[in-house]
Amino acid sequence: MISEKVIIAGFGGQGVMLMGQLLSYTATAKDLNTLWFPSYGPETRGGTANCSITISESNVNSPVISTPDSIIIMNKPSLDKFQPKLKSGGHLFLNTSLVKDVVLREDVNVHNVDANDIAIELGNLKVANMVMLGAYLEVTKVFDAESVLKVLKKKFTGSKASLIEINKEALEAGKKAVL
């Protein structure tokens, strides 16, 4: 039975909200219950941003997540803020291109992903979020990358359609990073 609570956190502009929305769109496509909730300040870029996503076969109650099963950390302030909240035995996905700090928790599974470096190698820094998402999907098996890509294809139409290929590569590269 699927029951996943994940918090994704980083700077505004890193695509944190989109990662979470993709998970919720995929859940909706699979007729699961889901809830996406954003938290950010009044800034358009910069500042810190995070979103909480619950995916469940039963009703989603609390919209806020106090003990996530997984956290995806895109920058240093987010590591400091969310590391203590992660469930014991949970998964911590760390963007090691930007966060050089050592994870202090010893009771969680840490997955280091050089997301920015991998994205730059692929030719577009902006897909660092998708690299992290690829890693997250590979480890947690919440959905397969193919289902997420299907949703992305529906969302990225017109001029954005050309971006699907690099997003696909990013998901794949993220998967390889944690194999």
Binding site: Q21, S24, Y25, A27, T28, D31, N33, T34, L35, W36, F37, P38, S39, P42, N59, V60, N61, S62, P63, V64, S66
Partner: protein
């Protein structure tokens, strides 16, 4: 239709379109901006009116005018903006004009913050404007419920010829959930709007939309007529939900997003051997007083949880006819109570975990 994943503000906007809302007047404010943004794009597609007014005060008076002309009309704002609209809302109630007002509440007082809050409870339920009036006020907890209630709210406003307030906190405006926009909602028995100021082309008796009654006797009669409506709301249209109430020893009273957090809390409490129920008001005016006489006799304690310093608490004190001990837990300023905090508070009241 299958469910679509939508942001709360956008889903509420689409629900209004589905309800036949013909005109929207508003002024931007966080955290409800996606609502007018969505309508600015979609209302013209349905050949309906969208106006971004020069201020909240202008917007609510445009609502007054459109309602007087017979249109199904909506405005939305967040706490400080709703405060600015109070004069217009009082005039609407006084002139018996229907209309729907969505308040996506944020922290206050003053400019406060932009994070979720329920601190407008008293302004909503006691009337923020002058005079003896009330708003039929609905407080949904999920996007599906928000959509369903908004679709019904235009009927309710027309039925009572009175504004209806949709009271949601910023969480509901900002979150995304799958919703079914085409679910059937109750239809109210509506009479033709023979009272509207629509140009009088058929040479009928003149219709006047007004809240000014200089003769005290006329004004008293008018007030008693309004009171009849509020009495009917109180007598026949209280709404609430009981959750896990059988054999409950303690009952959490919470509405909106907070009741969802309470739902998670009672699952944890159940594992700890505590029978905790929830009384969830769906109407905050009329307050579901009737629910209190239906609480099981096993209930020994009440706990009110709000995103305020204790505003609904007063209604619980008024409604608590069995004289049960009442405790309170609230977070304010945009901080949302956590599940564990509620669990801890309940354990403190009932005296710890029970393992038999």
């Amino acid at each position: 239709m299958s469910k679509v994943l939508m942001k709360g503000n956008e889903a509420m906007a689409l629900a209004a379109i589905k309800a036949g809302c013909e005109a929207f007047y508003g002024y931007p404010i966080t955290p409800q901006n996606e609502l007018p943004e969505y309508l600015s794009k979609h209302m013209p597609l349905y050949n309906r009116v969208f106006v971004q007014a020069e201020s909240e005060i202008a917007a609510i008076n445009m609502v007054y005018g459109a309602a007087g002309a017979g249109a199904r009309v909506l405005t939305s704002s967040s706490s400080p903006g709703i405060a600015l609209k109070q004069e217009g809302i009082s005039y609407m109630a006084g002139s018996e004009l229907p209309g729907v007002i969505i308040n996506v509440m944020r922290g206050g007082p003053g400019l406060g913050g932009i994070q979720p809050s329920q601190a407008d409870y008293k302004q909503i339920t006691r009337g923020g404007g002058n005079g003896d009036y009330y708003l039929y006020s609905l407080a949904p907890e999920t996007l599906q419920e928000a959509v369903d209630l908004i679709k019904e709210s235009f009927d309710i406003a027309d039925y009572f010829r009175n504004p209806v307030m949709i009271a949601v906190d910023g969480l509901i405006g900002q979150m995304m959930e799958p919703v079914d926009l085409d679910r059937e909602v109750p239809k109210w028995d509506l009479k033709p709007k023979t009272w509207i100021a629509d140009g009088n082309t058929k040479n009928r008796k003149k219709n006047v939309i007004n809240s000014l009654y200089l003769d005290p006797q006329d004004l008293e009669d008018h007030n008693m007529k309004l009171k009849e409506k509020y009495d009917e709301m109180r007598a026949n249209h209280q709404r609430y939900e009981f959750i896990n109430m059988e054999n409950a020893e303690i009952v959490i009273i919470a509405y909106g997003s907070v009741s969802r957090i309470a739902r998670s809390a009672i699952e944890i409490l159940s594992e700890k051997g505590i029978k905790c129920g929830i009384l969830r008001p769906i109407t905050i005016f009329p307050y579901p007083k009737k629910a209190f006489s239906k609480l099981p006799l096993t209930v020994k304690n009440l706990l009110v949880v709000e995103m305020s310093t204790g505003q609904m608490l007063d209604d619980v004190i008024i409604s608590n006819e069995r004289g049960l001990p009442i405790s309170f837990f609230g977070r304010v300023g945009g901080i949302v109570p956590e599940v564990e905090e509620i669990v801890e508070k309940v354990l403190e009241i009932v005296g710890g975990e029970k393992h038999e």
